[in-house]
Symmetry: C2
Subunit: 373 residues, 2 copies
């Protein structure tokens, strides 16, 4: 592989692996009989969204309103913004809807719902709301049995805004490392959001969307009866965190950081790379099950993982690699390229404004990405 046209650190994406991962998840959604609404928080790239939609996905999920604006600009209209709404962001939502976005927003808070209802009544904007449900992740969301669930639906239904349904995310599926544990969490995720939907329907509200998902539960759920859509993101490229949890194999990881060996500190038994905490992120999610992974798995420049070689520590622009033995200095001379499989792809990719695509073993095009807020 020749990378002479790239300055390091640089973000690489292997297209064949990306496409295989996309197919794997689409097959999972098809098997489970639900619509796939991929989360673009990982890829943040219009070209990736095109590939997802072409493979059968319907609609997209985003993590920032800037992503919503970027994808709208690239022709993607059916968008769910899956982070809790606040009243100060409603003008931005209204502006996106005025530009043609079929934008769904979420909340778990009665006061926010009241602000949305009021704003809808006073304007021409028919905000579309999903209520966030907590299925055990303990991040955002109401308990399925909560009083507020019905109060929020009632507030919205009696306003010019539109009540769309319920949404949950089993983030705690990242806390286990075997598929039978993931299957159990997938069942709890389904159960929580279906219970919430059933309570709402019993109370007389129409519930069109019953949405759930995380990469582990989306791949290993046995049954999604009652669910309308699946959301997941990191599966597109996977990472060492997912590998450590048994969700993917190392050679399915489609994203890597190209770096250059900038020094040998033989007194400290280290190879130094020009990819540090900014180029890789300081995410240590793989620690729970594979602490040896550190800040990333080292690969040769062709992408083959090198056994027992990891980024062991980082400073801002330096990656420190503890050598296995003195032969590593000759194997990896100063100036040579190494690739790093990230611990957490979403965090790593965020530092880059484009992907460098590898296709048929050679660098092909660049895919732009959206960053920031």
């Amino acid at each position: 592989m020749i990378y002479s046209e790239l300055s390091t650190p640089a973000l690489l994406l292997e297209k064949e692996k990306l496409m295989a991962n996309i197919v794997r998840m689409q097959d999972s959604a098809d098997r489970l009989g639900v619509q796939l609404r991929p989360h673009l928080k990982t890829m943040k790239a219009a070209r990736a969204a095109e590939a997802l939609i072409a493979s059968g996905a319907r609609g997209i999920t985003v993590s920032t309103l800037k992503e919503a604006s970027y994808f709208l600009q690239h022709g993607f209209k059916d968008i769910t913004y899956a982070v809790g709404m606040v009243p100060t962001k409603l003008p931005e939502v209204a502006s996106l809807m005025a530009r043609g976005a079929d934008l769904k927003i979420i909340t778990d808070n009665l006061e926010v719902a009241r602000a949305i209802a009021t704003e809808a009544n006073q304007s021409d904007t028919r905000y579309k709301l999903l209520i966030e449900v907590d299925c055990g992740d303990n991040r955002g969301g109401l308990q399925p049995e909560s009083e507020e669930l019905l109060l929020i639906a009632g507030l919205i239904e009696n306003s010019a805004a539109e009540f769309q349904g319920v949404l949950t995310h089993a983030g705690h599926s990242y806390g286990v490392n075997n598929t039978s544990a993931i299957e159990k969490i997938a069942e709890l995720e389904r159960d929580a959001v279906v219970r919430a939907a059933t309570r709402l329907r019993t109370a007389g509200y129409e519930v069109n969307t019953i949405s759930l998902g995380s990469t582990p539960t989306a791949l290993y759920a046995k049954d999604l009866s009652g669910i309308t859509e699946l959301r997941a993101g990191v599966y597109t490229v996977f990472d060492m965190d997912q590998q450590a949890r048994g969700v993917c194999e190392t050679d399915e990881i489609a994203m890597s950081v190209l770096s250059c060996v900038i020094g040998h500190n033989k007194a400290a038994d280290k190879i130094l790379l020009d990819a540090g905490g900014l180029a890789l992120s300081k995410d240590r999610s793989a620690d729970k099950f594979r602490p040896e992974v550190g800040y990333g798995q080292i690969c040769n420049e062709d992408g083959t993982a090198i056994p027992d070689l990891y980024v062991t520590s980082v400073s801002q622009e330096h990656g420190h690699v503890r050598v296995r033995d003195v032969n590593d200095y000759a194997l990896f001379p100063v100036g040579s390229h190494l690739r790093i499989l990230p611990v957490h792809a979403c965090m790593t990719a965020a530092a880059y404004d484009h992907f460098n695509i590898i296709e048929n073993g050679v660098l092909s095009e660049k895919w732009d990405r959206v960053t920031g807020w």
Copy 2:
């Protein structure tokens, strides 16, 4: 404080605190009788460089060649790129020098020095080289007694490139939390780089630059005899990592992230913010001495630190704040603003392309920043 014009998360910079921090470090350099060459890896902002130079700094340090290009474009010519050079980056260095940069590069590797010498001989570019010395940090750098130190100087002196001197960085000063321990590391830092310079001079080489620095050692060194210049960066804004080590007070921290409360998960005893792992970074440097700080210290929107309230965990776009008691829900309603003092300012700032400046208690201008590579 009114932030209605800002979408959250947003990066804030208090100008009065920035200026006080700049003065504090300049006073330290003046007292020690050395030139201050601030490291712009933290600020990455031309307006900050202007303030530093106006306060007495001479020359700047950068962590990427993109920073070098950005600062050159803004009129800053005297630049040291303090990350190990590799042969593939020499064309970029030559291009910067052709544009007028007085750019110094570093290496600790004989083969890289050979490539620099060869390239200088074959081109019109008079590369300026500093040799990196390891003073105990165990990152980059040669041991002061190493054979290669003299070999590299010899190679460069016998080429069309220019040998400038030696440089070290006591990154391990971040590993202690009291000023007497910092003083000792500062002495070891000085000793290592002066020993290297003395060996080079004894061997007949001219050593014009003897450079060292880290924020802790730069502020607490007792004596810098033999040193010509001091480099440091994070002192401009400080952060909770520096506070945890006793290097600054909480109210000297000039940078913060403005965030919005997006939810109350009362079942999980949590307030949720719209500043998560991307907005704050996943750096946990403060853990060693103040693990309770987590991902940041929470402040009111006027910047006053709130006792015992921290960002306890993060996901990509969510900050989780464990409440002290149920009264916190009323104190911090959904939709209200909170500010977060970062754990590691360099890592946090990297996610943003501008600072929102607060001056005299009100939002004034924006300062652009350079990001990426």
